[in-house]
């Protein structure tokens, strides 16, 4: 190597007087110290920040759903925040079915060793849509796809929002919703019948078919049928 190797150190942006991290002890239920980024968010975004909650020493910031991408980008780019690591993106639906679905972003700032949780509320009865943070964190790719697969929440701006864990022609619904029963909506034999008939590996997706050079050589009517989303058999 021609240049000296310098590892990127977590916590390198903290001032040297800050004590090294230690195992949290006797974590208070409520009333712990909030993450300083929460105040910075309030100062920057005003009433897009609905609420700040500190439970078990973790700061949760409830934000306006439409401005999520903007807020996350600010948290990523601002030199005092630098939340460069997206730990997780998920959603929570409560047993009280009138409560809105909460979409949760877990972000870490490696330079400052901070952790923050952002939440956006999606009331039932309205389309479940939130902006995607794919352009900010590439790690959000599959996390958002899984959230869509399990809850039916659409992430606007995600380039390829398809089912990830269930197969694409899955008909029973969105499994992690509370109105979806644990054993599924159909009987066991019906579930087996469906998957054996749908047989996802026997068919290439449109994305994969476009690779094939021979696509151009297919007869015109077949290309049209494929173009309309028909799946080819074995």
């Amino acid at each position: 190597m021609s240049e000296a190797f310098l590892p990127v150190l977590a916590g390198h942006a903290e001032a040297s007087e800050v004590a090294p991290p230690s195992t949290p002890r006797n974590v208070p239920y409520r009333g712990g110290a909030a993450n300083p980024s929460a105040d910075a968010l309030r100062a920057q975004f005003g009433d897009a920040i609905h609420r700040v909650d500190v439970v078990w020493a973790e700061t949760t910031v409830y934000v306006d759903r439409a401005r999520v991408a903007e807020i996350v980008r600010w948290l990523h780019d601002d030199p005092q925040q630098r939340y460069d690591y997206c730990s997780d993106i998920t959603a929570v639906e409560f047993r009280d079915l009138d409560r809105p679905i909460e979409v949760v972003w877990h972000l870490r700032s490696l330079p400052f060793r901070r952790f923050i949780r952002l939440k956006a509320l999606l009331p039932k009865g309205q389309p479940l849509v939130v902006p995607s943070v794919y352009d900010i964190y590439r790690g959000a790719d599959w996390l958002e796809r899984e959230c869509y697969d399990m809850f039916g929440i659409r992430f606007e701006g995600h380039p390829d929002l398809r089912r990830l864990l269930m197969w694409e022609q899955y008909k029973e619904g969105y499994p992690l919703r509370k109105d979806f029963p644990l054993r599924g909506r159909f009987s066991r034999s019906e579930q087996l019948r469906q998957i054996l008939a749908q047989n996802p590996e026997a068919k290439y997706s449109m994305e994969e078919l476009t690779v094939l050079e021979a696509f151009n050589d297919l007869p015109g009517d077949m290309r049209q049928r494929l173009g309309k989303g028909e799946q080819v058999g074995e």
């Binding site: 979806f180 034999s189 998957i195």
Partner: protein, 209 residues
Amino acid sequence: MGLDTRRVETGVDVSPSSSESWVTTRLDFLVNWGRANSLWPMPFGTACCAIEFMATAASKFDLARFGMERMSFSPRQADVLICAGRVPFKLAPVIRRIWQQMPQPKWSIAMGACASSGNGIFDNYAVVQGIDTIIPVDVYVPGCPPRPEGLMYGIMMLQEKVKKERMADKSLRNEMEPDPSSQLYIPPQLIDELSENFGNSVHQTRSGL
């Protein structure tokens, strides 16, 4: 306990019209001995049982002494499909296809509780409740995961089963065909009956608090 090692009554029919004879029984013995002691497994390993399968194949428990060290990952060259691990619905057509690709003679072992019956802890929307709903199973090995000794006991049971086969019984090597409309080997009502709700593990809050 242990395996029953008494000589099994073969019930050989020695009437002139039967196809069984001294020659075929000797040939049966030879062929079955060969097959039983060189079963090449097709390890269809999905989850934790696959790790115990690997441990069984490793030095301490050694599957090579059963003639099974040659893991054939191509189904075309395999004798026994060992389904080790839970099988979700998305994987069901895959295991079906692999089973159909295996040439006769073939057997299958459902290793672990998940492959045998879906395992009570995975009684949910995603897991096939026993692979015998998709492929025919010869030996079920319970356990979560079964100890290597348990898997070896299951393999030895399969070897006993193989040794009891008779060439004259041609039905043994018939390929089981699924019902074309439902694609299932077992009638759908039977599958539903067998996989009924188990206990109260599907209720969200028992206390209601």
